[in-house]
Amino acid sequence: MMEIRIHGRGGQGAVTSSKLAGLAASIEGKYGQGLPFYGFERRGAPVEVYLRFDEKPILISSRIYEPDGIIVLDPILAELGNVVARGLKEGGFAVLNTLKDPEEFEYAGKLSKIATVDATGVALKTLRAPITNTAILGAFAKATGMLKLSSLEEAIKRILRERFHKPNIEALRMAYDETQIKEM
């Protein structure tokens, strides 16, 4: 089982990113689980979503305390190692929305892979709004190979309203192309 923690801020689409990833995994014949941590959510406040993938049905329903990897939708949160990297496994991976280099993150040392992309820039170009969820999924697909771009595109078409299909698929692909991967 693969356990991933998604960090974002209210309004960036962290919950939707888990729905898209979970559906994409389901389309590929795997099992997915997206567990949003419900607190008092407000636009701009940090939110966490727990994402699991497995070949068999997932029955565990706890939060994820020691993730195999993290996905961070917000560039400022990405710099807060004590928040986003807490419990992160040795040799894990991070997919970050950032303009910085991978080495600049204090928690880089314990990871095997860091993928970086300017997801905010991609989102502003394609969606004209800083909603970074589809862009960061493009980076995640490239960095880990766990989900195919084609199944993520199918998930976008099935979950989002029609007028959002084209710009989000564009964001997904643009981020996929622009993502830099650094093996640590």
Partner: protein
């Protein structure tokens, strides 16, 4: 070959989808967290024509159950979802439903009274109201059990109302991979509702009072119906497995790794998934532990526990509950 569609949806959406597949005719609803997405989804299905049902917007859960009782005595398949304080507010009418012998189905994403998080205060408060209560572990099981629920409740050996209970947020709001059966297959499993007797003609407005036996005899009839329900729950679980390939223990209790177990943990609903992992981990360390998941809280399958104990010989059962009754050392 069973036709199914794979989707990534929440437990609430899975229940709403099952209600659509069950061709429910009357839905009465009042919003409450974390139930609201169920009846919101159903109102969408009714509005866009996917479900041919009457959707009644009521001013509270007490009226909701009154509307459902009315629909029930007219002989149509009826559904609502509620939880927490909403379920408790419906208490007076919940108590009447089984006396009408109207097989309503209610989905309850369990919620505490004093917070939004899941505990079983709401459903335990209603454990004496004559409802069958089936606690489910996952979104998939919530869908499967909603379909089974109508069949169990409407069986003429039972004719008692039924609740499908799943954990608020943990199951109700978590996205999961769920297999959605086709309408064709569901129609094979769940025939249209055949009321035992239709007592009210809705085109005529009249005061009705039907012959009922005295209270002691009524209670005996209800007890027989609940005893019958144990067999009917087992049958529905088996028939469902034949068509859809999924079953949950014998329908009443689901054992997990109880072979040679010295001790077993008894769990309900979503906590079971985590407990399964703990059992696996302890088994790897050579500890003989197992798990029994209680699915049917009402009727309570005491004899099934006794049979399982005899068969597997475990020495002790520990009970893990999401509920507490103060002042009596147990939940």
């Amino acid at each position: 070959m069973v036709k199914e569609k794979v989707e990534f949806i929440t437990g609430n959406d899975a229940v709403a989808y099952a209600v659509k597949l069950a061709r429910v005719k009357v839905i009465a609803a009042y919003p409450i967290t974390p139930q609201s997405p169920v009846t919101e989804k159903l109102s969408e299905y009714v509005a866009n024509g996917e479900l041919d049902a009457e959707f009644i917007k009521v001013e509270g859960e007490h009226s909701c159950l009154a509307a459902m009782r009315g629909a029930g005595v007219c002989g149509v398949r009826t559904f609502t979802a509620t939880c927490g304080p909403g379920l408790m507010y419906a208490h007076e009418n919940l108590e009447c439903v089984h006396r009408d012998r109207t097989p309503l189905v209610i989905a309850v994403p369990n919620r505490s009274y004093s917070s939004l998080f899941p505990d079983y205060t709401d459903s335990m408060c209603e454990a004496t109201t004559g409802f069958i209560q089936l606690f489910v572990e996952s979104a998939q099981e919530a869908l499967d059990t909603t379909l089974q629920g109508f069949r169990i409740a409407e069986d003429h050996r039972v004719l008692m109302p039924l609740m499908v209970l799943y954990d608020g947020y943990v199951t109700s709001h978590t996205g999961a991979t769920v297999r959605l059966p086709s309408q064709e297959d569901v129609d094979k499993f769940l025939p249209p509702f055949k009321p035992y007797v239709v007592r009210v003609d809705p085109s005529r407005s009249e005061y009705i009072q039907w012959e009922r036996p005295g209270v002691p005899l009524q209670e005996m009839e209800h007890e027989m119906a609940m005893t019958n329900a144990k067999e009917v729950i087992k049958e529905a679980n088996e028939e469902y497995a034949k068509i859809f390939g999924r079953s949950y223990g014998d329908g009443l209790v689901e054992p997990y790794r109880v072979e040679d177990a010295d001790v077993v943990l008894v769990t309900m609903a979503s906590m079971t998934g985590t407990a399964r992992q703990v059992v696996d981990a302890l088994r790897e360390k050579g500890k003989n532990v197992g798990l029994l998941r209680l699915r049917s809280f009402r009727p309570f399958p005491a004899e099934t526990f006794q049979e399982l104990q005899k068969k597997y010989g475990f020495r002790a059962m520990g009970v893990c509950e999401r509920d507490v009754t103060h002042g009596c050392n147990y939940g």
